[in-house]
Amino acid sequence: MTGSAPALKPAPHITSPWRNLRQGVLHVFLGFMAIVALFPFVWMVFASFKPFKELVQSKALLPINWTTENYTEILTRVNFEVAVANSIYSAVTVTVITLLTSSALGFIFAKYRFWGKEYLFILLLSTMMVPFAVVLVPLYITIGDLNLVNKLWGFIITGLWSTFGVFLMRQFMEVIPYEYLDAARIDGASEWRIFFTIIIPLSTSPMAALGIFAFLANWDSFLWPLVVLNTPDKQTLPLLLAGLRSIYWARYDMWSAGSVMTTVPIILVYAFASKYFIRGMALTGIKG
């Protein structure tokens, strides 16, 4: 565990040749795991630039005849732009509203006192134990009653509150000192103002984590949109991709082009903000 305490002076044995060899072995293993994690994407990116014949025949990683045909074909033949727009619209809406609802409820559960608060909190938390499959059918019926079947909002509306998000935000807001709030109240600030100018700025770190978590969960959501959204003009990206299996049976050139356009933007964003992504995902575990 030498790396965890940079402040400590390295003990003499750490710099010994034996230690260096050991570190080398660790690097070889981690390098191998990194390649295992990364290689399929690299292959996919190059495959998407190969003509179909070459893709199924050649053994080389790099394309011999570079082509962008796959991309033009997938963009013209299926409603790719529509699916991208649907996915972005629903993921952004869900993320923004989830952040607002989670932080407002986190604030109330952390800093307010009212009768039945803990009971209410436990009641909300208890919904996390119920597997999604239990509400799959009843929720579909509810969405039908609300006339939202095959509408993007039928997918969005079920994600506007996040029990996990409330839990996460409460955990963080517990440590905000009451003095800040009282000082603002004495100065005559309304609770809305306190929420937007004190609570939210003090909670940007858990909110960034929750935002990334909510965005990815929604972007990747499959079962529920599969049930609610049926027509191509309402499809989200995962549904469109899954549909490529039957529209373009074993057309691996199409598949790789579609997959590249779905994954590469996320990977690029990740490359610049990986710290927040990892923290966001790790928070789900450490605090949960």
């Binding site: 565990m1 399929p40 609802t101 009282d182 109240r185 995962p238 691996y252 598949w255 996320i266 450490i286």
Partner: protein
Amino acid sequence: MTTARLASGSRRGPAWDWVRIRRVLRKSQFHFGVAVIVPTLIWYFVFMFHPIFQAFRIAMVDYKILDPQNSPFIGLGNYQKLLLNPLFLVSIKNTFTWTLYIFLFMLPISMLVATTLSNVRRLRNLYQAVIFIPVVVSLVAVSLLFRMVMDPEVGQLNRMLDFLGIPPFKWMSSSRSALAAISGIAVWKSMGFYIVLLTAGMLNISEEVIDASRVDGANEWQRFWRVTMPLLSHTIILVVVLLTVGSLQEFTLPYVMTEGGPGTATYLYNLLIYEEAFTHIRFGTATVAALFQFVFILIASLIQIRVLRPNWSY
């Protein structure tokens, strides 16, 4: 703390109570609270509590889509129908096998990588970031990717095996290897998440405890089993429960990769629920199946937490 004082009871009689209530009603806190709590309660009622209660009702009726009000009550009839469905036992067996595979692949790999990461001195964050990439990308895209890579004829995986002189393997097109192959993909997709959890847990173990064991002459192996593992037990409980709950509910991978096939080799429990509900339009049996899953997951997690909970503290 104004809110605290307002919430505590008064000893000055009902008239004072009324004054207090009126004062609360004028408070900004009250308006804010109502504006947040009321929509929350409505949403939770419509999209959580009501559906959960409905599930118990739907489980006991022969649900008629076109005329739901007149769905006849059939009591345990849906339970009977589900138990008579031959796919019920098949999907349970597959789901248990699937969960077992996930555990067998995931725990050793993620423990090994996490131990390595917590011991490496340089580039730890870079390695972690790269290993984490599969976690953030779309699962459906990953499914398509591996259907290409694992294609028995043209896939890269068999090309590589061929290069190493190993005969080609059928991966997902053989019912004997399909479930294991897909569980391998599931492990590849989410190992980064568990590695991050375990690494964070390992780096949290205080340096003093490790040093103490070093002074006491423990070797690396002893230190791992006698110091690291026990001190990691909270993280391990979390990993085990999350893995179990997730594996028992797996849907997307088998649905996109094989649609339960070849035959019924990868027909997992959630595929059964989905097909009962939206292919055969049997809402009652689908919901009964989901309730079974609910009870099972609840009991399984409680047992795991009880068994794995450390009986010490420091």
